[in-house]
């Protein structure tokens, strides 16, 4: 599975909305849309570290790095030097 698919799947499993029609694109800001709850920011960091075996440093903890699927993919690729 590609990084984008893994990230999309993780977000989908953790949506805080129950509308079956709730969908998000790879450039949609899941925080601004209210699709996730407050603990999700930390859960997402745990997931990224475990799944992609990278360390998210204090300098990386900018919410802008993690608001959309594409931004998370970009962040992971940057960390892995891809």
């Amino acid at each position: 599975m590609q990084p984008a698919e893994k990230i999309r799947e993780f977000i989908s499993k953790n949506l805080a909305v129950y509308d079956e029609g709730a969908v998000f694109g790879d450039d949609d800001n899941i925080f601004a849309l209210g699709f996730v709850d407050s603990p999700f920011a930390i859960q997402l960091i745990c997931f990224i570290e475990e799944e992609f075996q990278i360390k998210v440093a204090d300098d990386d903890l900018d919410i802008e790095n993690f608001t959309t699927v594409n931004r998370v993919v970009e962040f992971v690729r940057g960390k892995k030097g891809l």
Binding site: F10, K13, N14, L15, A16, Y18, D37, S38, P39, A41, I42, Q43, L44, I45, C46, F47, E49, E50, D58, D59, L61, D62, I63
Partner: protein, 379 residues
Amino acid sequence: MGDVLRQEEIVNEARRFADEEVRPRAGEFDEHEELPRDIISRMAEKRYLLASLPEAYGGLSLDPLYYGYLTEAITKACCSTGGLITVESSLVGEALLRCGSRDLKDKWLPLMASGEKIGAFALSEPEVGSDAGAIRTRYQPEAGSFVLDGRKKWISFGAIADFFIVLASCGDQKTAFIVEREFNGVRTQPMKGLLARRASHVAEVELENVHVPAENVIGRPGGGFSYVVGTALDHGRYSIAWSGVAVAQEALDAMVSYARKRRQFDKRICEFQLVQGIIADAVTKTHAARALCIRAGELRKRGDASAVVETTIAKYFASRVAVEVAADAVQVHGGNGCSSSYPVERLFREAKVLEIIEGTSQIQQQLIARYGLRQYCRR
């Protein structure tokens, strides 16, 4: 295997320390509303203050499971003493470790570990509790620094803290700062007459035109709520979950010991089936709470993202069990349970606070319900 043995020995020593040096004085701490400096110094000597943090910073590098066991051991003897570990390790220490710059970590963590500096986590306010995102303490950038104004309340160890992690807002942005007690405009007022945690030096903290240097920002400006508060509360809930197990187990020990000695109707009261029913429920609930904490600890050890919700479940359940078992322990003690001559009176009060701090049970229920609604829907 070597590290497991090392950690087991630390926890065994913590149990001895709690039995010999903490439990005998717990009533005195509660009565005098003070955790004395000598106990804080002893905890620092034993490196308990930052037990979960790396040894490089003066901690014990305990993994989450053994950190839980240590928290249980100390909190079981005295909730305020255990509370100091929660504040230093889980709230302030872990937030700094995860979100702080190298300079902040290098400066503050060793000082905290040695007990030279006490940190406190200043989030709640007079008008802001569960709705933490609505904080009213404000900051304004000014000539390379920040100016803070506001008031914080219910700050554990705030009356003796040397510095505070303060969450403040500027427009939509929320940022966390290290505010030192010696900065101009910082005042604290101890809060007395509390239901519990009386020895935890709980205080109000007033910030009036406090100038904070830019290097004291924790993480990036705007990341205060999602990451600094998120990290602190996640670790704090884990610590409180184990505190629930601690209070329940201490109450259970007291309940059983009393029921085996107390005689009524020419029998020991433990021989009555209705009392045995209370004991059976207390044993079962306490074991179940501990199992949830162990499960959360194992997931945390693996860095599994589901540890966040499992920790929430453990905190919600263990704090409720603490309330129920402590109440039943008072019931088994009868009139004696209503007297401060017996520890269950204090445990009864201490248990209730666990359902409120680090997120009320109702906030935990909301988070757990959201998890259940997405996890267990047949499609």
